[in-house]
């Protein structure tokens, strides 16, 4: 048993694809369509064969309600690790990325939160280096 894929609900798959690739910097991994159905995933450019993130259309009421509630409570739909939160913030900010939390030091890590333009908050995280 392996963890190969995880999912984020989005309200617009085309817009999501642009944000997750152009702004966040992921690469498109799979993109299939059958009538109204579209299976769309992205992966990390640093780990193209790593875990995929499915950008699933929130076209059922439960998904839309869940997504909205998480957003309203400021809860991130996903968290991604980066080497340097401040550097990513400086890179994405001029691209128009809307940060709801600038780089912020918290216990054990530095985090920032941004709007993915498709109904979600995304958290980026840099873990503190532990000295042994």
């Amino acid at each position: 048993m392996k963890i190969k894929i995880t999912k984020a609900y989005v309200n617009d798959q085309e817009k999501a694809l642009r944000f997750y690739t152009d702004v966040l910097g992921f690469v498109k991994k799979a993109d299939f369509s059958q009538g109204p159905f579209r299976w769309l995933t992205v992966a990390s450019a640093e780990e193209p064969d790593g875990i995929e993130l499915q950008l699933a259309l929130n076209d059922n009421p439960a998904a839309a309600t869940y997504q909205q509630a998480m957003f309203d409570q400021g809860q991130p739909a996903a968290m991604f690790y980066v080497d340097d939160v401040q550097r990513e913030y400086d890179r994405m900010k001029p691209m128009g990325a809307e940060f709801t939390m600038p780089p912020t030091k918290v216990t054990g890590s530095t985090i920032a939160m941004l709007n993915d333009t498709c109904g979600n908050l995304i958290q980026i995280v840099t873990l503190d280096r532990w000295q042994s």
Partner: protein, 186 residues
């Protein structure tokens, strides 16, 4: 080996990608050795659609009005309520599927039917659509011949080697870049 296992699609042929501004339409033509009346039934009757089409219908498509079409082979069937705009047996059928218009035209030939499908699928998926419909038409042909092999759609089509080749061939014909859809090895 069953007829399904023996099946292998021929070369990409009979398809065209037409562009009108941002709107792309896939046009597929196939000649079938059966009269339009028989082909019409296969295009409209739910129990016949189940033999070859990428969707199920909750009623016969042979009259105008609303109908629910469900995708086959997706993790959860995606049901779209649609409208049969025109149903003129046995020559013209028009409806919408998942936001794309679909039009079927049946022309009688001396020994069968020339079936033309217009599908305004987006550019991104047009080669994929051509490969998918190509296989569906092969399966339809065998079904009409009285040797059904069972529909080959969605994941079944992707796993099937011929799909990858057809997809690449149609992408080349349409001069668009084919994305590698090779299923990941387990």
């Amino acid at each position: 080996m069953s007829n399904r296992e023996k099946y292998s699609p021929g070369a990409a042929a009979g398809a065209e990608a037409r562009r009108d501004g941002d709107r792309w339409t896939l046009v597929l033509v196939r000649e079938l050795r059966h009269p339009p009346e028989k082909v019409w039934q296969a295009l409209t009757e739910p129990e016949q659609l189940r033999e070859w089409a990428p969707f199920d219908a909750d009623r016969n498509l042979d009259t105008a009005g609303t109908v629910k079409l469900s995708t086959v082979g997706t993790p959860i069937p995606q049901v779209s309520e649609t409208n049969i705009k025109r149903a003129e047996a046995p020559r013209l059928l028009e409806y919408n599927w998942g936001g794309n218009d679909i039009r079927w035209e049946l022309e009688p030939l001396a020994n069968g039917t020339r079936l033309t499908l217009w599908h305004n699928i987006g550019r991104k998926f047009i080669a994929m659509g051509a490969a998918g419909w190509h296989i569906c038409f092969d399966v339809l042909d065998r079904f009409l011949e009285g040797h059904p092999i069972g529909r080959i759609v969605a994941g079944d089509a992707l796993k099937f080697g011929g799909w990858q080749r057809l997809h690449a061939e149609y992408a080349r014909q349409f001069d668009i870049e084919a994305i590698d859809h090779t299923p990941q090895p387990e």
